[in-house]
């Protein structure tokens, strides 16, 4: 652990804290700075409109894309409305509806991932949280349009993966992505929540480590930890990267787009 920090670099646990910080930009902050316009669309057509998930149509350089992601709140009132960015099943179903709509009208899909995880409540179970996430993984696997997921803060477990079945997954430098929270990991494997800091190291959940393991394609640098007060440069660099992603996939046949996405996931198999 000492070794890893020898450059005076930020520890994994520091990054967990940065990723969870209330100063960190959320999807709405990114949308307003990266895109030229955004039309939000609501509802899953089955139960309701989950405010922990935002989705709609955005424009970038005269190209339309569908943008979907979790939205956290910055204060108690907002967090009540946004459920701390933890979607219920209707949030995943809204996302899937918008993703299928994007496919129908040939719009590329951009997911912005920032969630502690899918909500663990009674109503969520009653309405099929597991089914909702499973259905997303199933349907997103062969969508015929390019899909990009950018993990901007917390990429928590299946609740994040449901928005990350993509052709490419990128992470902001201080974002984290893991099978569960370091607190949960420490509680399960060591029966001691207080060892979360150590767990964060062991789990290899930072952008750089995940890129090294082939789980993400790109790490977007944060010269300073991303902060809503000063995020224009970051938004500009994200806009540039997104444009080149869109350009790269622009003329690719749908079959090829699907094949590449599938191959990407097939590669996460058994190895030595």
């Amino acid at each position: 652990m000492e070794e890893k920090n020898r450059e005076g670099a930020v520890s994994a646990w520091d990054r967990v804290q940065i990723a969870r910080s209330a100063d960190r930009p959320y999807i709405k902050d990114f949308i307003s700075r990266i895109f030229d316009g955004f039309l939000e669309l609501h509802g899953d057509r089955l139960f309701g409109d989950d405010r922990a998930v935002i989705g709609g149509i955005a424009a970038i350089d005269k190209q339309y894309v569908t943008v979907i992601g979790q939205q956290k709140g910055r204060n108690a009132k907002e967090n009540k409305r946004r459920n701390f960015g933890m979607p219920n099943p209707e949030g995943y179903r809204k996302a899937l509806r918008l993703a299928k709509q994007a496919e129908k009208f040939s719009r590329p899909i951009l997911f912005f991932v920032d969630t502690p995880g899918a909500f663990c409540g009674m109503e969520a179970e009653e309405r099929g949280q597991g089914e909702a996430i499973a259905r997303n993984l199933f349907e997103l696997s062969d969508l015929r349009v390019p899909v990009l997921s950018i993990i901007t803060g917390e990429g928590g477990s299946g609740g994040a993966l449901a928005f990350a079945v993509a052709n490419e997954v990128w992470m902001l430098e201080n974002a984290v992505y893991s099978v569960l929270s370091p607190e949960g990991f420490a509680a399960i494997l060591w029966k001691d929540k207080k060892r979360a800091e150590e767990a964060a190291e062991v789990m290899k959940m930072t952008a750089e480590e995940l890129k090294g393991m082939g789980i993400v394609e790109k790490v977007i640098p944060e010269p300073q930890p991303a902060n809503i007060a000063d995020m224009d440069d970051l938004a500009l660099s994200m806009r540039r990267e997104i444009r080149s992603f869109l350009k790269y996939y622009q003329d690719m046949p749908a079959e090829e787009i699907v094949r590449r996405r599938k191959d990407r996931f097939r590669s996460y198999g058994v190895f030595d």
């Binding site: 933890m86 179970e125 099978v179 929270s181 949960g184 996460y268």
Partner: protein
């Protein structure tokens, strides 16, 4: 969110659904942990691994399940030797796996292969709770993905007995990726017009529920099985109140529309037979 719902922290008394496995007991006599009565081992085995006194369903693995489901001597294992690595170099993980392999006789938490049910050829998978609570690591994900892929290529229906605490924590993010891989394989099987039946047994939770367990054309469940995304303890902690009796039971899922049928063990083979036959299998086969 797959938070801490696999094992109880030491010292916490469990009051509702127990995570302690009611294993099919060994030895001549056993005390049933359902009713507390002393029951004969032989009677349990002759009663579909249920308590002959109170009817409690004991957890069973591939060894017990396969003879119960498949036509006699028709099971042939696929990828039996396939195991995973230690992608996070998690301390003590390989030793733990070695110990489990010796004590359970299973190479991993799932056994895959082909068999016949009522004469019809199927791809069959069975997860075993004895092996790290049936948790899904790369080997489990790989075996399931390969099995479904082969079933798609050979145009076989898939029957998969689910039993899992969820993600294999020791494999971190690679465990998470198996959810997407298995779901993708099922999508291809589905697109090929083939039948997939997951059978949910106690417990089916976490990443398994949020992937292949919930993606069947027909979803069956065993009576009383715990089925959910988040575990009961996590939900209790999240909402800070007690959970109602029967929450996340198979019967609860049936009521809320997430499983097609609850099927008793003695009816499973014939129910699967009807589902297979009515979906067009077995017509051309001998």
């Amino acid at each position: 969110m797959l938070k801490e719902h696999f094992k109880k922290p030491a010292g916490e008394a469990e009051t509702e659904i127990s995570y302690e496995k009611p294993q099919a007991p060994d030895g001549l006599f056993q005390k049933c942990d359902g009713c507390g009565k002393i029951v004969l081992q032989e009677d349990i085995e002759n009663n579909w691994y249920c308590c002959p006194k109170c009817g409690r369903y004991y957890r069973i693995g591939a060894r017990e399940r396969i003879p119960m489901i498949a036509d006699e001597n028709t099971f042939q294992e696929w990828d039996s030797g396939l195991t995973g690595g230690n992608p996070l170099q998690f301390e003590g993980y390989e030793e733990k796996l070695d110990t489990l392999r010796k004590s359970t006789g299973y190479a991993e938490a799932v056994v895959m292969g082909e068999a016949r049910i009522c004469g019809m050829r199927i791809a069959l998978g069975v997860m075993s709770a004895e092996f790290l609570m049936g948790s899904m690591g790369t080997a489990v994900g790989e075996k399931i993905t390969r099995m479904i892929g082969r079933a798609t290529a050979e145009r076989l229906p898939v029957v998969l007995f689910c039993c899992s605490g969820g993600a294999r924590m020791q494999e971190g993010i690679f465990s998470l990726m198996q959810m997407a891989r298995t779901a993708q394989a099922i999508k291809e099987h589905d697109e090929a017009g083939l039948l997939y039946i997951p059978v949910l047994t106690d417990p089916t939770t976490g990443g398994v529920t949020a992937s292949f367990a919930m993606l069947g054309d027909v979803i069956l469940a065993e009576p009383g099985a715990l089925i959910g995304f988040a575990g009961p303890r996590v939900i209790r902690q999240t909402i800070g109140q007690k959970l109602p009796q029967g929450f996340q039971s198979a019967e609860y899922l049936l009521k809320h529309g997430f499983v097609d049928r609850i099927v008793r063990r003695e009816r499973l083979r014939s129910t699967l037979g009807i589902l297979l036959r009515s979906s067009g299998y077995g017509r051309k086969e001998s």
